[in-house]
Subunit: 227 residues, 2 copies
């Protein structure tokens, strides 16, 4: 990760965020807990049922899981949009190119022409053809403000976030409390299994309750803490 800071892909404060994730992952025993596994299946189902799915990418997500996120976008016909917490034209360009080098065919985010309501100006910027008009958005490693803004805008929000207490985790429609490099391949696998099974997908979506799923994750953390 430190090398990705030198390259300008990850912001220095992205390292702090990464460390926060490491701590929570440590508390999960550095594995996909059953509740996260279920959430990942539901995320796959939502992406496949979506009309206009989008996967948002920030520096950390690109640095950690570019190739898998690109595969997932191809598999589910989701657009990729670069969306940074610390936005600068230069860093957006770097992250876009990083994704393109990793095989992405189309990356949105260079020329944002719309705004999400309810958040500070720079971070509200998005693409009219991407996040702005999406019905379902996968947000790996997103901040709470933007996650809440997307929910308020009526989107189904799918989060990958290691902190089960974060505002992102609480606001999202589905939260996979899991490490991105484990979560993304799991979502890809589930998407392959759910291909051509719309009924099973609807069933997964309808029976999922994010609040009780998060509770289960917290119980797993406590078990590990008290062992």
């Amino acid at each position: 990760m430190s090398d990705l800071v030198k390259e300008g892909i990850v912001a220095p404060t992205g390292l702090i965020a990464h460390g926060r994730g490491e701590a929570f992952d440590y508390l999960l025993g550095e594995k996909t807990v059953p509740a996260a596994h279920l959430a990942e299946k539901v995320i796959a189902a939502y992406l496949q049922e979506a009309k206009r799915p989008v996967i948002t990418i920030n520096g950390n997500a690109a640095g950690l899981a570019a190739k898998d996120l690109i595969s997932l976008s191809e598999l589910t016909h989701a657009k990729l949009e670069v969306n940074l917490f610390h936005r600068s034209e230069e860093r957006v360009e770097k992250v876009c190119r990083f994704l393109e080098k990793a095989g992405a065919k189309e990356v949105l985010g260079r020329k944002p022409d719309a705004k999400l309501e309810g958040i500070a100006s720079e971070r509200a910027l998005c693409d009219k053809e991407g996040i702005f008009s999406a019905d379902v958005v996968l947000i790996p490693l997103e901040d709470g403000d933007r996650a809440e803004a997307m929910v308020k805008a009526g989107k189904k929000v799918l989060a990958i976030d290691l902190n089960p207490l974060s505002r992102t985790s609480e606001a999202a429609t589905v939260t996979a409390v899991d490490e991105i490099t484990r979560a993304t391949p799991n979502i890809i696998k589930a998407a392959k299994e759910l291909r051509n099974k719309p009924e099973e997908r609807r069933k997964l979506i309808d029976s999922f309750d994010n609040r009780s799923n998060l509770k289960e994750v917290k119980r797993d953390i406590c078990k590990l803490l008290e062992d």
Copy 2:
């Protein structure tokens, strides 16, 4: 913290470690839990009962709590020794100067002339008059290898570490699971209260059990998680 990276005081990977701390602090409700409060009193007692106390300082500790750690060293006649995880002559010099600018009169660590056994070469380096011959060492934000090496060398090891499961926390004689900028003033306050009270100090030391103290912290974290 990001600015301290630019100054060369904090290593980029120090930001990741800082993030890990933030996550655990979040789980403590960002406050000093009762068990940590007790541990901080016991740390004060140990420092005052010591014959050759030393406080080790790395980049993160300097960046976050230089002034308080210096005050504590003066109050308890503990030496200050700079001891970095990612050691380079240049960064040692920078951290030493940073402490001197903050008011430290004597800082060890520039010319290490001894080695701790059982850890990789660079990180084993220490000062014969400092850590090497210390009977009691306060290690704020230390790594597990070095903490264990100091315990093996027969020292009483006092840790400030936000992760109650870390090897440092488990190896230490006393662990204050608390944020350094809250812990250090608490230790200073306790040291002032315990001045000229050797009996009370011995009692605190004799009745303290680090393992059960850590258990109590973990229970507090679970309470917050499950609320």
